[in-house]
Amino acid sequence: MGSVYRARDMHFPNVTKLVAVKEMINTAPDPLVRQTIVQNFEREANLLATLNHPSIPRIYDYFSVESRSYLVLEFIHGKDMETIINETSGFLLEEQVLTWAVELCDVLDYLHKHKPDPIIFRDMKPSNVMINHSGDVMLVDFGIAKTFQSGIKGTMIGTEGYSPPEQYRGDATPSADIYSLGATIHHAITRRDPRLEPPFSFSERPIRRINPSVSPDMEMVVNTALEYNPENRFATTADMKQALLGVARKTGALVRMGPQTTPLANTSGGIKPLWTFKCEDEIRGSATIFQGTLFVGSYDNNLYALSAAEGKFQWKYPTDGGIVSRPAVFDGNIFIGSEDKLLHVVSSRSGKVVWTYYTNGPIRSSPRIAEGHVFFGSDDKFLHAVNLNTGRMAWRFETADAVRSTPFVMSDLVYVGSETGDYYAVDFRGELKWRFRAKRAITSSTVGIGQALYFSSVDGTLYALDPRNGWVLWRFRLGKASISTPCIVDDLVFVGAADGFIYAVEAKSSKEMWRFRTEHQVNGSPVVYKDSLYCGSVDGNLYCLEYRTGRLRWKFGTGGAITGTPLVYDDIVYIGSTDHQVYALLA
């Protein structure tokens, strides 16, 4: 609607006196309307000229030239609060925001007490608050510019995210300013821009859930200011200021004691595993359960069979290489690939070998069983399809590089990613149907539901593809590379990444719903059981989160990195760790 210029006042030729010149353009086509607008502007300029407060810029002059009107104001050295929020990595300190909020209460109180009529600021938001060089707040852009926004028929009001519900009625009251101040503080301490959210949805973004370092008292003050009904808010800005000072006294912000840290949630203290079992080397892969027996491979070359209830050893089957994948079960037999280049098929009862199948490279992909065949990738750059009855190759499909992801089968197609980032859809005759290319390796395995395939890539992206033709429906940027396989529940896609976060993304819109920070890379995959999400991290912990909100329920520390996927069955979580142990925990 207009611009602000930095100008020099030439009345003082010997010194550099900077002023701000605000230009407003009169776009109304009707001459009578134009005239009214200019009169309103001049009336408000006169009013502002009488104000005298350290947080209000002084007005030096005003004038109109043709269709433009100008206001000459005190120039403020500093930055506006929105810029400060955006430039700060992480959250602004509570004590910082609190100091500004107290000063803003002061200046609003001054305006609201103006005689004969109170002045309502009407447009409180971070971009209208300047922080000058001495760290004090200045209110800029008084509602004066509003007079120029005519020409629009009354059908639209931009509520802008900071305005109170009563605004649409045209009510401008001190209480409206209090709401907007609450919205401004909420934005400053949560970094969530209300203009990007539905109106009046602050209560859906509780402050301390987003920024747990904020004190409960501060949260309460902001919530009171943001009450839907004006009568439930603070009666005056002076009351709000008192409440803020109360918070400052309690948290010690006024005496600069620094922010206090609040403990996040209960840690593993109380959690005892039901049982543990120790292998001779790291467990990097995942477990499978079949008829009360848990099958898990270890880097000590063995496939172990343990009783799921007590973790009692039943048998082990030695291969000649490390096992890093997840066993599959079919017809009473266990299928497992090993770095000895063989796919081993072992009787689940006896642990005796039934048949083996040789590839030209270590096997790190987990076997997938479908339609009478077992599908798996190998470092020999082939996707293999082996007949379950004969143990013979049905076909193999050549890829550009090692295949370490697990093939996914849906609607007569096999989907698999390779280490170059090439992604293939192959039909049951081993012929390419379509291909796609990510920028880096696809080590993550695919999961597909109905209309979409989901997988992540080392290029730091979570992809959603059309299973029929490979067109990209959406891409979601992760903080870093990912080799974690997504998990889908309801309308949510969960995935981990090397930036240490577990992400929840809405499947239809690719909007981030929440993210949870662990202390190290998340290379394993999340699983959801009932209303909990379970996921391990290289920080050694198994995390249990509420899957809708990402809130921590508990975590359990193991002695080494967790890179596998938890298995949850019958209210028990099974997880292997690189500390050589398998743990069984109550879900």
């Binding site: 059908t155 639209m156 649409y168 990007l196 849906m410 609607s411 209309q451 067109w471 990209v472 429906l473």
Partner: protein
């Protein structure tokens, strides 16, 4: 199959009833079929067909709605793929500006999307696109936002755009025009959410749906293309309703014709063209207080 469903229903555990607070109804035969189909999507050839209708209404002098419906087939190396782009924009802002805004929105969005797909529609292109459907729609909307602020400052428009590729519908939506799924068994389901104050108050439970229908500020939007410093459109991808229709319309239709009458006008019509005519007539018969725009799309096969 019947056996399977019988088993599904009889398996219902009465003990879970106490926790179930939502109203439930048995799924219709068509819904069950849709669930089954969704678990095993098929890859047969499919035809996309569409039609549209527009009217200035009975009480306005100007038409501020704009509409685009484009249906074709993309012949590529991975088979034949239906391609469609459908947009409705309802401009506002007094004088002729509303029309300018809705027009600019359609031109910019369609121009951007078609430029992106040009190599795939008109040339032999084998490598995959390095942008997703949702990213293309997002940048199209941002471009339209800038175009409106340039061409018709101060005005605004709603925008509901649907890009159909194969069986995927990617929607970009701002304002209170709507997209619906209409099923042949009589169900109708809005897939967009109005960015209007009245809808928001209804969502918050401050007013009832009945109060909402007679609310004095029904046309106040909190998000519109061309308005505000930051625009955050709703963008999402859904599977095409089968059997069923995708319907896009402005509030000149959904605001005056009851949902069940919308369904009847569509399902009873012999073809899509007549269905669109029926819908426009229904809105005009109900008084035609506003401009009317409607697009119907069907995926057959």
């Amino acid at each position: 199959m019947d056996k399977l469903f019988g088993w599904l229903f009889s398996k219902k555990d009465p003990s879970t009833k106490t926790q179930d607070t939502t109203n439930t109804a048995p799924l219709s035969e068509q819904q069950i079929q849709a669930i089954v189909n969704n678990q095993n999507p098929h890859f047969d050839l499919q035809q996309l067909i569409s039609s549209c209708g527009q009217s200035v209404g009975k009480q306005r002098e100007l038409n501020e709605d704009s509409l685009l419906a484009l249906t074709t087939i993309m012949a590529g190396n991975s088979g034949i793929l239906p391609f469609g782009l459908y947009i409705i924009a309802d401009g506002m802002g007094g004088h002729q500006f509303g029309e300018v805004a809705s027009n600019a929105a359609i031109r910019t969005v369609a121009g951007h999307v078609l430029r992106k797909f040009h190599p795939y529609l008109f040339q032999v292109k084998t490598d995959t696109m390095d942008e997703s459907f949702q990213e293309i729609m997002q940048t199209a909307v941002s471009e339209a936002q800038r175009a409106i602020q340039r061409e018709a400052p101060g005005s605004g428009t709603t925008l509901t755009a649907a890009l159909v590729l194969g069986q995927q519908i990617t929607v970009a939506h701002v304002g209170d025009s709507r997209a619906y799924f209409v099923y042949t068994d009589g169900r109708i389901e809005p897939i967009t959410r109005d960015h209007s104050l009245v809808k928001r108050l209804e969502e918050l439970g401050h007013i009832t749906p009945e109060e909402a229908a007679n609310y004095p500020h029904r046309n106040v939007l909190y998000r519109a293309l061309g308005q505000g410093e930051i625009l955050d459109p709703d963008i999402f991808t859904l599977g095409f309703p089968q059997p069923g229709y995708l319907m896009l319309c402005s509030d000149g239709l959904w605001g005056v014709v009851a949902e069940q009458d919308l369904v009847r006008a569509i399902v009873d019509a012999p073809n899509l063209h007549r269905a669109c005519q029926n819908l426009v007539t229904a809105a005009n018969t109900a008084g035609g207080p506003d401009n009317i725009s409607v697009i119907l799309v069907q995926l057959v096969g």
